[in-house]
Each structure stands twice: as structure tokens, then as C-alpha cells.
Symmetry: C2
Amino acid sequence: MADPLPSWNDGAAKSAIVAFVKATTDPASKDFVRQEDRIATFDQDGTLWVEHPMYTQLAFVLSRLAELAPQHPEWETNEPFKSTLAGDLAAFANFTMTDLETLVAASHAGMSTDDFASIVNAWLAKASHPRWKRPYTELVYQPMLEAMAYLRANGFTTYIVTGGGQAFVRTYAERVYGTPPEHVIGSSLETKFEYDPDGKAVLMRPPKLLLYNDLAGKPEDIYLFLGRAPLAAFGNSTGDQQMLEYAQAAGGARLMTLVLHDDPQREYSYGPEAGQADTKFGAFTRALYDQATSKGWVIVSVKRDWKRVFAFEP
Amino acid sequence: MADPLPSWNDGAAKSAIVAFVKATTDPASKDFVRQEDRIATFDQDGTLWVEHPMYTQLAFVLSRLAELAPQHPEWETNEPFKSTLAGDLAAFANFTMTDLETLVAASHAGMSTDDFASIVNAWLAKASHPRWKRPYTELVYQPMLEAMAYLRANGFTTYIVTGGGQAFVRTYAERVYGTPPEHVIGSSLETKFEYDPDGKAVLMRPPKLLLYNDLAGKPEDIYLFLGRAPLAAFGNSTGDQQMLEYAQAAGGARLMTLVLHDDPQREYSYGPEAGQADTKFGAFTRALYDQATSKGWVIVSVKRDWKRVFAFEP
């Protein structure tokens, strides 16, 4: 039989994933789960694609605000716009939730849902990552794409559960991850049903946050969308802690996994270990590491567990 | 080939449904739609099951409030409890949104998501409809079950999009309609992620409305959950108007359908026609009828189009 996870090195992480899939899909297993309940959830930033030097969606915000800035001279002096337009990541890391909502409102709202999707698609087509000089949509982790495909081949439905914007991620999730729009759960603005001048129904995006899908928001929104806990949950930061706790609390065979970024040569190194960078983009604290260890969560080391990080590597 | 809709009389409604399915699933058709985008949405009350003499979930509210009333002597004198406990449907029809939220808060909130599901299941097991003396879950329209099954057999995913409570409907939707929890979109309370005394993750239900999934809320929530308009939409009242408009506005071959309750012998008669009852539970106004006629929406007459209404009929 062909290896379903060819970009993974043999080791504890790969073994745990394969053992979990076998245990939950073999009808003879005591941990067998019917196909309808095989739900796997994946964080996006830092779990499925690169989140450094900043979240990709923040790069979109910077680009969009720069485009709009000429019509808003007041942004040159007013925060949080001033620091954001200056690309001051240290300032950004200290922004309050209200600051972030202000930036999202200015960059993501005030147009129809269709127009927003067009704006995102146009940006993705031209933007590139500062280190690899490739489209952001190529900076996805090949081992995680294989894990998603392996789960789907075994009857799982794979969901992206992201702190990022649901409407943003849905524009590319199907072609990049194989997940259709209805399998993407993310932070969301409200929409408002209106009629255009021709009387045609249209959904507008007012600047009002409906779902903040991070931390405790992840299990809350998983319940809202799916009505039950995931059987397998993959994350990489403190923003995923509650999602993994929710999965584990549901009992039975469950797989909780955290990606640890510890490979500065092939990607980045940030986390709780000596010499690793501290960061606000995907914080993996010592407390989270200890919790993972004590609760039997699987820690995936980029350095040790991944044979290949990106599909474009030789 | 066996008739996929045996409980439907031959006529314009049945023909329209069959023609739409053929047009959107035949690869040679100019209106072919790939399987991933074959989304059909169904209102529940009055479209999939009986909504008279009152919404089934309102019967649950009455029962639940009666159970809790001994601990709330103030309900005997305070509205909206007083009229509700007295079963005063005329008063109920005039309740404001705030009144309804108050009733929902008292009857649906303040417990964990698991406990709420247990309460609903226990009620459904013992409750029965006043006219047919059968469990409410048997008062589903056999022709609509066949339409759902027919669509699914042709690659459609069927969603329930209900003004009723999402957590309420999800308790029985899979066994009654064949729709798993993630295919039920409904009005929703917020949930709150907490830890129980043993430190285990649990989701609680505070008395706070998150989604009001009726009228314009239907297309807004369909977009929130699915990211796009349905290819086919089925409803029966003014609460479904915007959902059907949203489907039609997306263009291409779309099926918009409204069930008209015009059979007092086998079920109920309420709607815009002479002699039909006016009602707050599933209003089908003259304006909606005219809109349906002018826009090519399919009107399903219970009396003429359904050979059989319920599965338990001979």
C-alpha cells in the first residue's frame, strides 16, 4: 500500500495520526466511529500555511489600507492606522480588539459580499511572500495537505476553523486545501440583506463583527456550525487550545495535534523552547506545551517530523 | 424507472421539480451544475412539517414554562409569561421580538448544550399533536421527504433553514429528515465555553440571541454557513421570501418553491385565497402569492399536488 503521508518522517507524530485513523475507521475496532461523525478541524495560520513574518490577512489589510489611504488623510496621524500603514509590527502586536475591529472595518466592510471576494482574489493574484517571493497560496504545508487528504480518503470531513476572516479564506480554500466554502469556519462580519437599484437581492458587509473565531470562539463556533465536537483537531497556538480541549472533552478516541515551528532553516522557529522567538503571531507558550504533554496531545515538530515543508521544494 | 416522487400527483409542481433536477444534473445540459454547488435549502415549519395550530417549538416552550412555573410565581402576573402559560395564541401572535426573546431565554437558556438536547429529546418522546395524537416528528410531509431524498440522490446537499431554534431542530433532524446537525441552520443563542468543576470543557447557553434566522436572516445565515446562494429553495411563508429572492438573484437555473396550505380536510387551510384563514404561524400573503406568480416561483398546492400528506396515511 502506498504511504498516505509521504512528506512525513516516520516517528511518533506520523504513527499517532495513522493509528488514530485506523482505530476510528476499522469496523472491528472498539473506537470505530461512523462516517457521519468523522469530523476533523484545522486551524489555518501556522497550521496549514505560513503565518510569519505576519498573518497573511494582515498583509492584505496593509495593502488595502495603503490603497485607500489617499482618500483618508486623517489616517496619517490617527491610530491604529498610522502604525499599521507604517508597517509597525511591534505596535500591531499591542493593538486592542477595538483597534483590530477598526482596521477590519476600514479594509473589509462597506461593500457587497461579491465585491469583497473580487478584491481578495485580485490581491492574492498579485501578492507574494517577502521571503519566498511566491504567492501566499503556495506557502501551504505539504504534510498537512497530505493529512487532510488522508483523513478525507478515510471518510472524514475536513473543516478549516480559523481566527482569520471566513469570507477571506473561502475565496481560495477550495483550490488550495480542497475545502469548499461551507467547510470553512472563521471570524465573520455581519451581512445585511438589501436590494440593489434594480431590485435584485444583494448581501452587504457592514462594519460589524459577528463571530470572533479564536480561543473560546473556536469551540463555540464549531458547535454553531456543526453541532458537535470534532473527532480530530489540529492547531499550533494558544488560539487553538480551547478547540483541542473541546474535542478531548467529548470523550472516546480523539486526536489533538499541535504543530511546533522549530525549523528556522526551512521555515521559522517560534515557541517555548530555548532560543525560539516569542511572537504574537501564533504564540506557542510553555503552558500550552506542558498541557499538550500532560494530556496526550500530539506535538508535530516541523524540523523532525516533516520530510518536506512545501510542495515547491525539490 | 421508479417514480422518485410517488406521493406527488402529476402536475405543474412535480414537473417543475423533475425538470429542474434533470437540467442541473445532466452533463449535457446548458444548466449543468457541478455536484459541489448543488445546494437545496428547506424551511421547516409549514414546509417540512405541520405548523398549526401553533409552531411545534412553541408547544415545547409552553410545556417547559409550565414545568418551571412553580419556581416562578411572578409569571402568573407578568407578561409575556401570563398569556403564554394560559395558552393564549391570540396574545402570542402580537408579542414583540423582545417578548419572544424573554420566553426563549426562560425556556431554552441557562443550561449546557448537552442538557438542552436531553430536555428536547425527553419532550419529543412524550409530546403529541392535539389533532392527530401522534408525535410531532410523525407530522412531516411525505412528499417533501421524497423531494429531499430525490435531490440527495441527484448529488444535492439538503439543508434545513428554519426560523426555529437550530439546537432544537438538530436533536431530531437526522432521524426525521436525514439531515445531520451541520445541515441545519436556524435561530441560535450564543454559547459560552466554560470549564465544569472537574476542569472539563463544556458549552453553556446564556440567554442571548446570536442569529434570528427568519426573513432577511435566512439569506444572511445561508451566506454565513455556506458562502453562496442555494440552487433550490423551498418555503411556505413570508419568512421565506428573502431566501427565495437570494436564490433567484444568483442567476442561472434555480428552483424557488412555496407550499400553499389549502387542504382543510387532510391538513389545514391558510393563505391568500378566498375562505382561507389568516395566521401568524406561516403567513402566506396575497403580495407573496403575486410575487411568486410574477417571478416564476413554483406554488405547491397541498390539495392538488400531494397524493398523500403524511406517511401514516393508508
